[in-house]
Amino acid sequence: MREKKVVIEVGDGAAIPDPDDKGLFTAWRISFFGTIAIIVYLLVTKPDPYLDIIKFLPDGIVVTFKVTFASIGLALILGLIAGLGRISKNRWFNLAASTYIEVVRGIPLLVQLFYIYFALGHLIRVPDMVAAIIAMGFCYGAYMGEVFRAGINSIDDGQTEASLSLGFNRSQTMRYVILPQAWRTILPPVGNEFIALLKDTSLVSILAVSDILRRGREFASESFLYFETYTMVALIYLLITLVLSKLLSNMENRLSHYERR
């Protein structure tokens, strides 16, 4: 039986915890509990300044999450459209999607952020955060497009043929048969993109958006405690990405239920 098997490369998101690793000392556990231990240690032994720093950050954490979730939502929509475009037989749709992906991937994210932020600012007045979200979503949508394309392509053609032979049209086939299956292949790389995006939102701190990093910078520039502040900022980012990667790997396990014998 021919069955396409596509392995999608792990990107720069984070090491997704290996569900098959049943040992006591996994990389994830060491990092996770190590991070918590260091944060607790710092807070207990040096409440001044670490307690002040950590009290200053939650507003930034909320902003980081807002930007991340809104951007990933936009990126998923753009990614699905771009992915469908890349496999489309419609020449113009295909060309538009490919060009979008090509252009976005060729320009550094930070440059795109500046560009969309200021270009958009010229055309319409939108809040800083909205401009940042549009820029992040637009950029990550292109990467997501390639993930969707690979995920859709990983589904055996036989599934499409069976669906068509029953009377489903192409888009019904995509919706009822292909995407629900592709989602499972897509989830790990999407999770990676999600975590990578969360980290990349630190770039928006340059655009007057008060995320974790910007809050840290504000605190540091007033207190001159650069080392202590950025230590805490790094630990908070690490903690967040570790928790998210764990959640994602649990989700992955649940999604693959129908592959279990």
Binding site: M1, D156, G167, N169, Q172, Y176, Y258, R261
Partner: protein, 246 residues
Amino acid sequence: MNVVNPIITIRNVVKSFGAFLALDDVSLTVEPGQKVVVIGPSGSGKSTLLRTINQLEEISSGSIVVDGQEVSDPKNDINRIREEVGMVFQSFNLFRHKTVLENLTLAPIKLKKEPVKEAEKRAMELLDKVGMVDKATSFPVQLSVGQQQRVAIARALAMTPKIMLFDEPTSALDPEMIGEVLEVMVTLAREGMTMVVVTHEMGFAREVGDKVVFMDEGKIIEIASPDQFFDHPENDRTRKFLEQIL
């Protein structure tokens, strides 16, 4: 001479892949209730012929009329025609993310807007027919290949097609599972289903076939009744092929 309108009329069909002719001027008619068995060496165009009937493969020229509708005519809704033509594949192609029951109910619910309860009731009847009731809640990966193929037949039947196409339905099965699938197909044939079957199961061809079509290199070489075909083949190539496989 009794005149029966054919339910499938294939006329002078050519299918090319680039310069290669997979079907080279093929003509064939199938009457309602007829069982046509297509045999021939690998690569002779059997699958391509079957797949042109429901337009999984677009024809390059010629005409295919299924139940009064020209399938290559863009004015006809190919999806509605496909609802009338069930297809069973060599590799089953069950929807891997759906349970056995959901595999049967998906199309009736979404396409025919059947109420869920009704669709499930009919699905269970069909599963009973193919002996798969106790696996209704299983996923395809949990089934043997023979069981998967029986479910695939039931899935196609769930759309109450007028015609069933089988493309080497037992070729991917372990020998001990071939019987259970053929049994289901024989039952279906007895009930009067119109069937076009690509197979190398000569016993099946003899038992249920009304006519046997022998293909080679994209052409139909011989069409005959099973007895005539197996006992007195007219063509040299047919004879050679039969010597090889019998």
